[in-house]
């Protein structure tokens, strides 16, 4: 008879596998549709709508120039694209850097007192007169064709109110950045599947594009626990506004290089997710909110606990095994037998938990391969995947645990 901790692991493994299978079925259902979406744009855009991109920035002197240049390089009619740069009271050389662009007719630059990203976005929204509006974080760069890909979705379906891109990591160098590259690739797959399920719950800061009218209807950005992009998506879902994902519209973002910076970023995201889910708890288990309310949000919430539980129990096992090895070493000294290895199938672990963990792992690898194909156009597996598989599960609990603690005890979570 399995004990209570084993039953908890069984439940979590069942949910993880169910989620993976659900996403993979969605993928196989929609793969032909996705292939059609991959056809080159060519002359398929009949009329280019006017678009404004707001670039909120705060102390981004190192990356802002490149961000603006990437927008200027977009393959989009110059007279239809307006770039609104809002300096949210930077204290470094950001304002000086963006002033270099003030003579460009496509760009308008503005400076305001620091009030947080959502205030900079709302300030930018007051200046928008175009049909479409989007935001681009000042540490992100867009692919040349990204806006055209996105516009196509607006053109093909008048009900679409928001289109999100595929966010990827800009030139990963460190191990931590390579891990994030795989994670973002995974996100590309999941976001696309959630798009098909009508269950997206984030409109990422880098280059999500909206019909401008929706801000007049629903209001601007909100503070939303410093995750305004999630709150806006949940507000859109609440009002049954249609959002889709353009997986071929690529946007690159600079990933945190150090564990400290990554920790702070993810702590904010996870804390924001928990708090926003509480704010929008009326979506949960309500049929009228479709797959988002009935499945995706509850699963995402449960996964916080399951990841934490599984990793903590894995760490517990590692500590126990290490302690046992240490005690053995202390008792009888070093006991290595170079010629003593002989395979006996009897000693292979064949418990249900081991077999299920292997199956869930195979599901994870399948999604990783598929997401890599979607994000990068190939299925080659490099060291980044090895780093991801070996390390991600052990670093993610750092922010998961702290975010749950902060949310439970209402500890304020800072931006940086």
């Amino acid at each position: 008879m399995p004990d209570a901790s084993n039953i908890i692991v069984y439940i979590f493994l069942f949910i993880s596998l169910y989620y993976e299978i659900f996403l993979l079925i969605t993928y196989f259902e929609r793969r032909f549709e996705m292939q059609e979406e991959n056809i080159p744009i060519g002359n398929r855009i009949k009329k280019y709508p006017t678009a404004s991109i707001i670039v909120p920035c705060w102390n981004e002197e190192k990356t802002i120039s490149k961000t603006i240049h990437s927008l200027l390089n977009l393959d989009y009619p110059k007279n239809k694209l307006q770039i609104i740069v809002v300096d949210d009271g930077s204290t470094d050389g950001t304002w000086k850097t963006i002033q270099k662009f003030q003579t460009n007719p496509q760009i308008s630059i503005h400076r305001k007192e620091n009030g947080g990203k959502y205030t900079a976005l709302n300030f930018g929204l007051t200046l928008v007169t175009s049909e479409l509006v989007g935001c681009l974080d000042a540490d992100s760069y867009v692919d040349k064709d990204a806006l055209k890909h996105i516009v196509l979705y607006f053109q093909n379906d008048k009900e679409v109110k928001a289109v999100t891109p595929s966010v990827q990591i800009w030139k990963p160098e460190t191990i931590l950045q390579m891990i994030q590259k795989v994670e973002y690739g995974w996100g590309t797959f999941v976001r696309k599947m959630l798009s098909y399920l009508g269950a997206m719950y984030v409109t990422p800061g880098p280059f999500s594009i909206f019909r401008t009218e929706l801000f007049a209807e629903l209001g601007g950005y909100r503070h939303a626990h410093q995750t305004e992009d999630m709150e806006l998506a949940l507000r859109l879902q609440t009002n049954h506004y249609k959002m889709v994902n353009a997986h071929n519209a690529r946007v690159y973002t600079v990933a945190p290089r150090t564990l400290g910076k990554l920790y702070k970023q993810r702590l904010r995201w996870t804390y924001g997710f928990i708090k926003n889910t509480f704010d929008y708890k009326f979506l949960l288990f309500r049929k009228e909110y479709g797959n988002l309310g009935m499945f995706v949000l509850p699963i995402a919430f449960i996964s916080l606990f399951s990841s934490l539980y599984i990793v903590i129990s894995t760490i517990g096992t590692v500590i126990t095994k290490t302690t046992t090895a240490y005690v053995k070493w202390q008792t009888i000294g070093f006991d290595f037998k170079p010629n003593g290895f002989s395979f006996d199938w009897f000693y292979v672990h064949t418990e249900v938990i081991t077999i299920m963990s292997i199956i869930v792992f195979i599901g994870t690898l399948t999604i990783l391969f598929t997401s890599r194909k979607m994000a990068e156009g190939h299925r080659k597996i490099g060291m980044d995947v090895v780093y991801f598989l070996a390390l991600y599960s052990f670093i993610a609990p750092l922010w998961l645990g702290k975010a749950l603690f902060n949310a439970a005890f209402s500890v304020k979570t800072n931006w940086r």
């Binding site: 659900f22 079925i25 009508g198 879902q237 499945f295 046992t324 008792t331």
Partner: protein, 238 residues
């Protein structure tokens, strides 16, 4: 307007596939679990046959010489293998698993029979075999039992002629309780019986090696390593 339609069929299919995979995993696990139990049973049967065979040999050749009986080689060589596999199964399935309890009871009986046979052989062959009878508990009341297990495994590896019999002090088996009574072993675990000595608490490798009962094994090991060295020297021409 986003209609947010739910495709219940897909939920049902996903559930069906997940449940089928889970049930298959349970089936595979049970299948291999049963195979392992069968393997342990088969080893136990082999040991039982080995012991029975040796006992029959004794009965037939009551007046026979030590060489006719085959000396210590008449003992089963499978006991250690069985013990390792039983320990693994106990860790895997838990010490309260009914299958594990049955297997352990049978194993304890085989150990006692093997021990008795060894005594008979030693009388016949006029030898003084070195045996250690080890009593442990896995009820959580013996913090040093794990360490004692490491020590005895190490000793058995160092001295292959050493025969270690390990018993769960709390096992519900009258033969083991009789052995405990015969050897007068107190409930102060870990406990080991070497010759006529009962030792309680953790004993290090060095402490056991220092006992006079182990001297024949140490001498044999030294003699064997000297012979090997001489053979090596001869083969390398020195």
């Amino acid at each position: 307007m986003n209609k947010n339609l739910i495709n219940w069929k897909k939920y049902a299919y996903s559930f069906g596939i997940t449940a089928a995979i889970f049930v298959t995993a349970i089936y595979i696990s049970n299948f291999f679990g049963q195979k392992k139990i069968d393997e342990i049973r088969s080893i136990q049967d082999k040991i039982a046959i080995d012991i029975l065979s040796s006992e029959t040999q004794f009965a037939l050749l009551e007046q026979a010489s030590c060489e006719d009986v085959g000396g210590a080689s008449a003992l089963s060589s499978e006991l250690e293998n069985l013990e390792n596999k039983l320990s693994f199964t106990e860790r895997d399935r838990g010490s309260n698993d009914p299958e594990v309890i049955t297997l352990k009871r049978y194993y304890s009986l085989l150990e006692i029979k093997d021990y008795l046979l060894l005594q008979k052989i030693s009388q016949k062959c006029k030898t003084t075999p070195v045996t250690i009878i080890y009593f442990y508990s896995n009820k959580g009341d013996c913090s040093d039992c794990t360490k004692m297990g490491y020590v005895l495994t190490k000793l058995r590896e160092t001295y292959p002629a050493l025969r270690v019999y390990s018993f769960d002090y709390n096992i519900d088996l009258s033969a083991v309780q009789t052995l405990i009574g015969v050897k007068n072993v107190k409930n102060e675990l870990p406990a080991i019986v070497i010759g006529n000595k009962n030792l309680y608490g953790f004993q290090s490798v060095e402490a056991i090696e220092a006992l006079p009962e182990l001297k024949p094994l140490k001498d044999a090991l030294m003699a064997s390593s000297t012979t090997k060295k001489m053979q090596n020297a001869t083969s390398t021409g020195r």
